[in-house]
């Protein structure tokens, strides 16, 4: 029986870069060859969530949401648009962080749809946050002498979004790799504006837990942290702020290792991914001293 992977994401009518990470990770997974088909669907672009399933020939479809946390999109919009008529959020049996998979028949295509939890709450996402720090510092061993901040929206928009930030900050802390680890928010305390107040070490890597770069990660956060007065003029990496060096990484979702999280979500849901996880981990690795 053939199996397809469908990565679903928000997309944008205004920002051409919004879909880029989704396409990139789909391409990485396609190249790894674990699925007969790898397709992408979007809320704001095409194929729409409503029509993406009919673009797949496979009977068995693994749907992985490129979203940071459980909430409105993963619980209401996506299942409704995919016509998973029997969807019940209780089937995920989640505490807000633990959604793994629930399986339904799509009403229009009759396909078996394994609807997975979002990438943002998967444990392996912590590895991607760390990998992002390696990428932005170009140092595969970065940690000692460095602080690490993970940034998200606050609870105002979605309570689970803050939970996901806390969860990963805790996991990075448990690695004992960075000198200091802090969760920061855009619209509540501890605020990303005051990033340097929360660290004693000079070097701080700041990674926003966002799927794609856009208004928040490219304009708001750099200006809020004081990396630049005007995002249009850009900023240095690292940038000097209040006696610290801030290594701002941009959206974690653009990191190539994200493809691994997508694959792990599908594998956890029962997809036969063979050796694809190892191969993706290998191909997306940061080469030590790549700039030397």
């Amino acid at each position: 029986m053939s199996q397809a992977l469908v990565i679903v994401a928000h997309g944008s009518h205004l920002n051409p870069g919004s879909s880029a990470p989704t396409y990139d990770h789909a391409d990485t997974i396609r190249a790894a060859g674990a699925f007969d088909e790898v397709r992408t669907g979007f809320w704001k672009e095409e194929p729409s969530l409503r029509e993406v399933l009919r673009t797949c020939e496979a009977d068995e479809v693994y749907v992985v949401p490129m979203f940071i946390s459980e909430g409105y999109f993963t619980e209401q919009v996506i299942p409704r648009e995919l016509r998973l008529d029997d969807w019940d959020v209780a089937d995920w049996d989640s505490d807000g962080l633990s959604a793994d998979v629930a399986t339904y028949t799509a009403a229009d295509t009759g396909q078996t749809v394994h609807y997975c939890g979002p990438v943002g709450t998967h444990g392996s996402m912590t590895d991607v946050l760390v990998r992002r720090a390696e990428s932005v510092t170009n140092d595969p061993d970065v940690g000692e002498g460095f602080g690490f901040a993970v940034v998200g929206h606050g609870t105002e928009r979605n309570e689970n979004s803050a939970k996901a930030i806390e969860y990963h900050a805790e996991r990075v802390r448990d690695l004992d790799r960075f000198d200091e680890v802090q969760a920061l928010y855009m619209d509540e305390e501890p605020e990303v504006d005051d990033v340097t107040d929360y660290f004693t070490v000079e070097d701080v890597v700041v990674v926003p837990l966002f799927i794609s770069d856009g208004f928040h990660t490219q304009e708001d956060i750099p200006e809020d942290m004081g990396l630049t007065d005007d995002y249009r003029t850009g900023y240095d990496v690292p940038a000097a702020v209040d006696g610290h060096r801030v290594w701002y990484a941009g959206a974690v979702g653009t990191e190539s290792l994200m493809a691994d999280v997508v694959l792990e979500r599908a594998a956890d849901a029962g997809a036969d991914v063979g050796a694809a996880i190892e191969s993706v981990r290998e191909t997306t690795r940061v080469a030590p001293g790549a700039d030397d």
Binding site: H13, P16, D27, E46, E51, V52, T55, E57
Partner: protein
């Protein structure tokens, strides 16, 4: 015909029912129930096309008939390469060579010169590979580039490359709607096999093949305006409040052939058709798209306002100029108007002049404040 193609034909002829496809009939007489080998000796093979029938053939005689027959390579291409019976992809590829209208031999002839179909702003030309095996090759490009040599176009091979090239229009602006009638020109996918041809079309116009196929089979699941807006939640929940009459204007504004190459099949509701023209596109639009819903949200808010009466004094030409400016913007013609062409209503100098004459210091047309209260306060 390649050796493996004849082998496949033999196997199919020996199997139950033999071959019966696109005018070709090949079977082993006596059916498939005789002992292996014995039947071939006893009854032999039948090879038939619309023009010709031979029976009692030995294997080598069958080979002689099959050799060079476009019916055989046609059979192989469809039944051994494409396969996928009852699938959108196969149906789309059959459309590309009008397979339901022309017999295999006629198509073989026509494919030699190339058979052209259009799909939105795409021009798809099907040809033969030239290897004598009947497999097809496809050229996909913008309809406006029909007469240009491949060498003059930016050549692509990877269907996924279509994502980037169709992301921006000719002026480099982001295209939020993949079926918007502003596909850039100047590129070509050339020499694609059937898989990549469908994939390229699917990348440029996602889900259009699947929806067209459903429509062909009378199974298109249309969600009308009220169906789609009623299921919206969150910030789009309000769109269902847009008045019926305004939905006409939405369809006219966004779904016209000049704006979107899909043929709008959705109506206000299942039993309430819109008067606006749905267009003549090759493939259907089965529900209001996300762009229309997002714009619909803005229009819903705007339609909540009550009209007011304003009094302006304009010369007849000024009234006409304002109409002309609206037309030019709505038709996307502003960029074509030359700087010194002061005969055009939307010419930059003409509009700057009108603004200088008619606006007060607060940007109010004719000095009339938008909100009458404002006026009193100012005094």
């Amino acid at each position: 015909m390649l050796a493996r193609q004849f082998d496949a034909l033999l196997r199919a002829a020996d199997a139950d029912g033999g071959v019966e496809f696109d005018g070709l009939r090949v079977a082993r007489e006596g059916g498939g129930d005789a002992e292996d080998g014995a039947a071939a000796d006893a009854g032999g093979y039948t090879f038939a096309t619309p023009a010709h029938e031979a029976t009692g053939l030995s294997e080598s005689e069958l080979h002689a008939h099959a050799e060079g027959s476009p019916y055989v390579t046609n059979w192989y291409f469809w039944e051994r390469e494409v396969q996928r019976h009852d699938s959108p992809r196969r149906a789309f590829l059959r459309r590309a060579e009008a397979a339901d209208e022309h017999d295999a031999a006629a198509r073989h002839e026509a494919l030699g010169d190339g058979m052209v179909t259009e799909w939105g702003q795409l021009r798809i030309e099907a040809t033969l590979s030239g290897d004598g095996d009947g497999s097809r090759r496809y050229d996909v490009r913008h309809v406006d580039d029909a007469d240009r040599a491949v060498a003059d176009l930016e050549r692509h091979d990877d269907p996924l490359g279509a994502r980037e090239l169709a992301k921006y229009d000719y002026d480099g602006m982001y295209r939020p709607l993949k079926t918007g009638a502003n596909m850039p020109t100047g590129w070509a996918f050339h020499g694609l096999d059937w898989r990549d041809a469908v994939e390229t079309v699917e990348t440029l116009y996602p889900a259009t093949v699947a929806n067209w196929y459903r429509e062909q089979r009378g199974e298109l699941d249309i969600d009308h305006w009220t169906d789609t807006t009623d299921r919206q939640t969150g910030i789009y929940g309000v769109v269902s409040e847009l008045p019926r009459e305004a939905v006409e204007w939405v369809a006219e504004a966004a779904c016209d052939d000049s704006q979107c190459v899909k043929r709008r099949e959705w109506q206000y509701s299942a039993d309430d058709e819109l008067a606006a023209d749905g267009g003549t596109g090759a493939f259907p639009c089965r529900e209001p798209c996300s762009l229309v819903i997002a714009a619909g949200r803005k229009w819903t808010k705007l339609e909540e306002e009550e009209p007011r009466e304003y009094t302006f004094r304009l010369t007849p030409s000024e009234k006409e100029q304002i109409e002309g400016v609206l037309d030019a913007v709505a038709d996307g013609r502003v960029d074509e108007i030359r700087e010194a062409d002061v005969y055009e209503d939307a010419n930059r100098y003409r509009t700057r002049y009108l603004r200088a004459k008619l606006f007060d210091d607060h940007g109010n047309l004719g000095g009339v404040p938008t909100d009458p209260e404002e006026h009193h306060e100012a005094e």
